[in-house]
């Protein structure tokens, strides 16, 4: 049964938990975005997920560490 992109995103989220810094969606291009904090982990995640999941494209963004943007 086909699933929608937000459902697929949820599944990817649990698959890359602990490896990526987050997961999102590009509705316009029908892709699931995987944010990667550490470029060393990129290949590991790519090997696990590939370029396609349940018919949706996968886009990888090496975001670096995402942090609150105030001066502490």
């Amino acid at each position: 049964m086909a699933i929608d992109i937000l459902e697929a995103r949820q599944q990817i989220e649990s698959l890359v938990s602990g490896l990526s810094s987050g997961v999102g969606v590009s509705m316009g291009s029908n892709e699931i975005i995987i944010y990667i904090s550490d470029s060393n982990k990129e290949q590991d995640i790519r090997n696990r997920i590939g370029d396609n999941y349940q018919g949706f494209g996968i886009k990888y963004i090496v975001s670096g560490k995402v942090q609150g943007l105030s001066f502490q």
Binding site: I33, G64, G68, S70
Partner: protein, 354 residues
Amino acid sequence: MADITELLSAKQKITDLLLSNTGSYAGTGISVSDDFVNVYLRDNTEQAKKKAYDLIGSNKADGHEIQFISSGNIRALACPTSYTAYNRPICGGISCGHQKIGAGTLGGLVYDATSKKPFGLSNNHVLAASSTYDKPQAIVGDPIFSPGLLDSLGIQYPFGKLYKYVPMNSTTNNFVDCALVEPDSAFDLNPEIIGLGIPQGWEYSQEGTRIIKSGRTSGITEGTIIDKFASLEIDYGGNIIRMTDTIVTGKTADPGDSGSFALNKVNNKVVGLLFAGSSEITCYNRIENVMNALDILILPTDTMPSVQYTTSPIDSPEYFVQSLAMTAIGIGAVVGILPAINEQIQLALHRKFS
């Protein structure tokens, strides 16, 4: 429709009479469709209206009805150009923060959905020092400073108090990083954002929308929304918080920009609240989530409640009493330094009243 030339002439006559004679009147104008000459009142009292009739010598201005409009004191609302200097009133985009942090950005002016009272909106991690449910770092009523202490070199310039914040949760998904500051005087908040003007309300964000923000560190920058469904792990000084429903753009911000509003560049409507970023991306809370969490509204100019002041802070009784107290303290200090003079004064007073 009234004759505009006649109305302007009537207005001109009463302008000189009213504005040069008393402090009760802030200005004059006309309403052509109603055939009114308008008088803007600093003090919305019957006495001020009666005095206006007396000064004009009639309850009409050259036969035109006079409409009184309560305006309060009208002050210039020019936005400063510096993001980090001391400025009052405060605009969106300016440096601010809780005493436990260095500096963040005040997003802008919002209103309580019920009372319509004005508040300043920024992040929890700017105004409440990253308070979580299990580790509150701030309490409601704490002073909020502008500029932030990093920019004032530690000198404290309070402009309001922490009014409300949404604690973050270290163990589950969060939707917002937001908090409100209640200004000591509503007069201290300017609806403008530095360099961007006044936001025209809010709207739901859309992927592909070009957004613009004005923040304490990087000033005015633009980006395009690439994602509005991101769930991301955010590092708050070593404490990792999971934030969902996040809007993501390319890099549009630097440390110190947290709290900035994201506006749709085309229509100046607020779509997000900047709270995090990295070397590659910038993250914003969806503004509808922020408004729901704090029970606030972001209003377009034409529906903003007017802020009315019968006295400016410098004219207020509190200021007068405060000045008197400071003078007394000053005299007391002199008296303390010069006990001999004090003794003579006391002696003279004793003689006078005994």
